[in-house]
C-alpha cells in the first residue's frame, strides 16, 4: 500500500514538473540571459558580445555590469521616437479595430442561432492561413497601380493612382486586417450572451435605441471590449512583419528596430536592451490582460 502510493505520488508529481522544467529552461533562463546580455559590451566576435560573466568571479561580474546600452537608448532619440510611434500606431489600430470589429460582432450575435457557428468559423478561418501570406496579399492591393487603384479608377472615383503602400496608412490596414479575429471573437462572446430582453426593457422604459446602445449594450460588452483591445494592442506594439512589409522605411516601430539592431547592425547587447525596453513597455497592459483573463475564467460556471 505504501509502495503503491509512493509511485502514485511520483507519477502525480511528474504532471506539473515536466512542463514546469521545460518552461524554466526554455523560457525563464533565456529571458535572464537577455537581461544579462543587455548589460554587456558589444564586441566584434562570434558571438558578437563579451559575456560579462565568469562563474569564478562573481564580484567581477557585478562590477562589470553596466547600463551603457540603456544609456545609449536614452541618448539616441531614435529609440524614444520608435517607442512613441509604436504605442501610437498600436493605439490607433486598436481603436480602428474596435470600430470595424464591433458592428461585425454585433451582427454575428444577432444572426439566427443556426448560422452563428458558421459565422464564427468564417471569422476564425483566415487566422488558420498564414499570417505572412495575408499581409503579402495586401501588397498587391495597396501598391501604386495596384488592385485598389485599378478598381477605384475603374469606377471613376479617383483619377490619380493612390500611393498607400509604404505609408503608415498601409500599416493600419494591415494590422486591422490581421488582428480582426482577435477583436471580433471576444466581442462576439460577450454580445452573444447578452439577454435581448434587456434592450427590450430599456426601450419599453422609454430609452431610444441609440441611448439604449450606449447605456445597456456597451457597458455589458465591456469585458469583451477590454479583452479584445488588449489582445490587439499588446502584439501590435511589438509587431515586426506588418511594418516591415507594408510600412516602408519611414514607419518607425520598436520591434523592427530590435530586428535591425540584431540582424543588420549585429549589436546583440543593444538589441537585448531594446528587448528589455519593449518588455517594460508592455508590462502594464500584460498585467491588466492577465487580470482580465483570470476574472473572465473565474466568472465561468
Amino acid at each position: 500500500m505504501v509502495e503503491r502510493s509512493l509511485t502514485r505520488c511520483l507519477a502525480a508529481g511528474l504532471v506539473p514538473l515536466v512542463p514546469f522544467l521545460w518552461l524554466c529552461v526554455l523560457f525563464l533562463v533565456p529571458f535572464l540571459i537577455v537581461l544579462k546580455i543587455s548589460l554587456s559590451d558589444p564586441a566584434v566576435a562570434q558571438p558578437p558580445y563579451t559575456p560579462v560573466f565568469d562563474w569564478s568571479d562573481i564580484a567581477g561580474f557585478f562590477s562589470q555590469l553596466d547600463f551603457e546600452n540603456f544609456g545609449l537608448l536614452v541618448e539616441d532619440d531614435l529609440y524614444f521616437r520608435a517607442v512613441l510611434s509604436s504605442v501610437r500606431i498600436a493605439a490607433v489600430s486598436t481603436l480602428l479595430l474596435l470600430l470595424v470589429g464591433f458592428p461585425i460582432a454585433y451582427g454575428m450575435a444577432r444572426a439566427p442561432e443556426r448560422h452563428r457557428s458558421l459565422l464564427v468559423a468564417l471569422v476564425i478561418l483566415p487566422f488558420w492561413t498564414s499570417f505572412l501570406i495575408r499581409i503579402y496579399a495586401w501588397i498587391a492591393i495597396l501598391k501604386p497601380e495596384g488592385l485598389l487603384t485599378q478598381a477605384l479608377m475603374g469606377i471613376g472615383l479617383i483619377s490619380e493612382p493612390l500611393d498607400i503602400l509604404n505609408t503608415e496608412t498601409a500599416v493600419y490596414v494591415g494590422i486591422v486586417y490581421a488582428y480582426l479575429p482577435f477583436m471580433v471573437l471576444p466581442l462576439y462572446a460577450t454580445l452573444e450572451k447578452m439577454d435581448d430582453t434587456l434592450l427590450e426593457a430599456a426601450l419599453d422604459l422609454g430609452s431610444t435605441p441609440w441611448r439604449s446602445f450606449w447605456t445597456i449594450t456597451v457597458p455589458l460588452a465591456m469585458p469583451g471590449i477590454v479583452a479584445g483591445s488588449l489582445l490587439c494592442f499588446i502584439p501590435a506594439v511589438g509587431e515586426f512583419v506588418i511594418p516591415d512589409l507594408l510600412g516602408g522605411s519611414e514607419t518607425l516601430m520598436i520591434g523592427r528596430q530590435l530586428w535591425s539592431e540584431f540582424f543588420s547592425n549585429r549589436d546583440w547587447p543593444l538589441a537585448s536592451a531594446v528587448a528589455i525596453l519593449l518588455l517594460l513597455l508592455l508590462v502594464v497592459p500584460i498585467v491588466i490582460y492577465r487580470d482580465v483573463e483570470a476574472r473572465r475564467v473565474e466568472a465561468r460556471p
Binding site: P19, I104, G107, M108, A121, W259
Partner: protein
C-alpha cells in the same frame, strides 16, 4: 426570443466578411495569372504552379517546415496537456504563480523578444542553430497555446463524471484514460492543430533560430517578398490556403459529430 437582423447588421456582416476574404481571394485568382506582373491580368495559366514545384529550394524549405511543425506540435501537445492538468487539477502547489506566468507570458510577449531570447540561450549553451533549435523554440511557444485550449475545456469539465467512474470502481489513472481523456480529446486535437499552424506560420522566431542547415518556408517566402511581388509566392500561398480550407472543413464536420454527443453532457 426573436432576434432580427437589421439592414445595418447585414451590411456590416457583408462588408466585414468581404474585407476578410477579398484579399485572399484576389491572391488565389492572381496565382493563375499568365503575366509575371502580379497586378496585371494576363490571362489564365497554371505555369506558376509548375515553376513552384520545380523550385528545389522552396520545396526543401516546405519539407523542413512540415517536419518541424509535426514534431514541435506533438511535443507541445503532450507538454501543454500536462500543464493544463497541473493548472486545473493540482490546486495550489509551490511555484504555481511562476508557472502560470510562464504559460501566459510567451503568448503575449512580442515574438521578436521570444526569438531573440531563445537564440541567445542556444548560443550560450553552444547549440548549433538549425532544425532542432527551431523545433525547441516552436515547442516552447506553442505548448502555451495548447495549455490554454485544454485548460479551458478542463474547467468546464463536469467533475461528477470522474467521481462516477471512481464510484463504479475505476482507480484514478484508469478513470483518467477511460473518462477524462476521451472527453477532452477534441480540445487536445484542437490544441495540436493550433500548435501545428502556429509553427508552420511562424517567421520571426524561426528567423532568429534558423541556421545555415535549415530554412523554413515562411523565411523563404519573406525573403522573396522583400524583393518584390512574385507569382510563385502567389501559387504557394494558394496551395497553403487550399490545404487549410480543406482541413478546417474536415475538422468542422468531425467536431459537429462529436459535439452532438457531448452537447448534453452537462445535464
Amino acid at each position: 426570443m426573436n432576434r432580427r437582423l437589421s439592414l445595418f447588421n447585414v451590411t456590416s456582416l457583408v462588408l466585414g466578411f468581404a474585407f476578410l476574404y477579398l484579399p485572399i481571394l484576389l491572391l488565389v485568382i492572381y496565382s493563375f495569372n499568365a503575366s509575371r506582373l502580379v497586378t496585371v491580368w494576363g490571362g489564365f495559366s497554371t505555369q506558376w504552379y509548375g515553376a513552384l514545384f520545380r523550385n528545389q529550394a522552396l520545396m526543401e524549405a516546405a519539407w523542413v517546415t512540415l517536419r518541424i511543425a509535426l514534431l514541435s506540435a506533438t511535443i507541445a501537445t503532450v507538454l501543454g496537456t500536462l500543464a493544463a492538468l497541473a493548472l486545473t487539477r493540482y490546486g495550489r502547489f509551490p511555484g504555481r504563480t511562476l508557472f502560470t506566468g510562464m504559460v501566459y507570458a510567451p503568448m503575449v510577449m512580442p515574438e521578436v523578444i521570444t526569438g531573440l531570447s531563445l537564440l541567445l540561450f542556444f548560443v550560450a549553451i553552444d547549440l548549433d542553430r538549425g532544425f532542432w533549435t527551431i523545433t525547441l523554440a516552436h515547442t516552447t511557444l506553442t505548448m502555451c497555446f495548447v495549455t490554454v485550449v485544454v485548460q479551458s475545456r478542463l474547467m468546464t469539465f463536469d467533475r461528477s463524471l470522474e467521481e462516477a467512474a471512481m464510484d463504479l470502481g475505476a482507480p484514478p489513472l484508469r478513470t483518467f484514460f477511460t473518462v477524462t481523456l476521451p472527453l477532452i480529446a477534441p480540445s487536445i486535437v484542437a490544441g495540436f492543430l493550433l500548435a501545428f499552424t502556429l509553427s508552420m506560420d511562424d517567421l520571426v522566431i524561426a528567423s532568429f533560430n534558423a541556421g545555415p542547415g535549415a530554412t523554413t518556408l515562411p523565411i523563404k517566402i519573406y525573403s522573396q517578398v522583400r524583393l518584390g511581388l512574385s507569382p510563385e509566392v502567389n501559387a504557394a500561398s494558394a496551395i497553403l490556403i487550399g490545404i487549410v480550407t480543406l482541413g478546417v472543413i474536415a475538422a468542422t464536420l468531425i467536431s459537429k459529430r462529436s459535439a452532438l454527443r457531448s452537447s448534453k453532457e452537462a445535464h
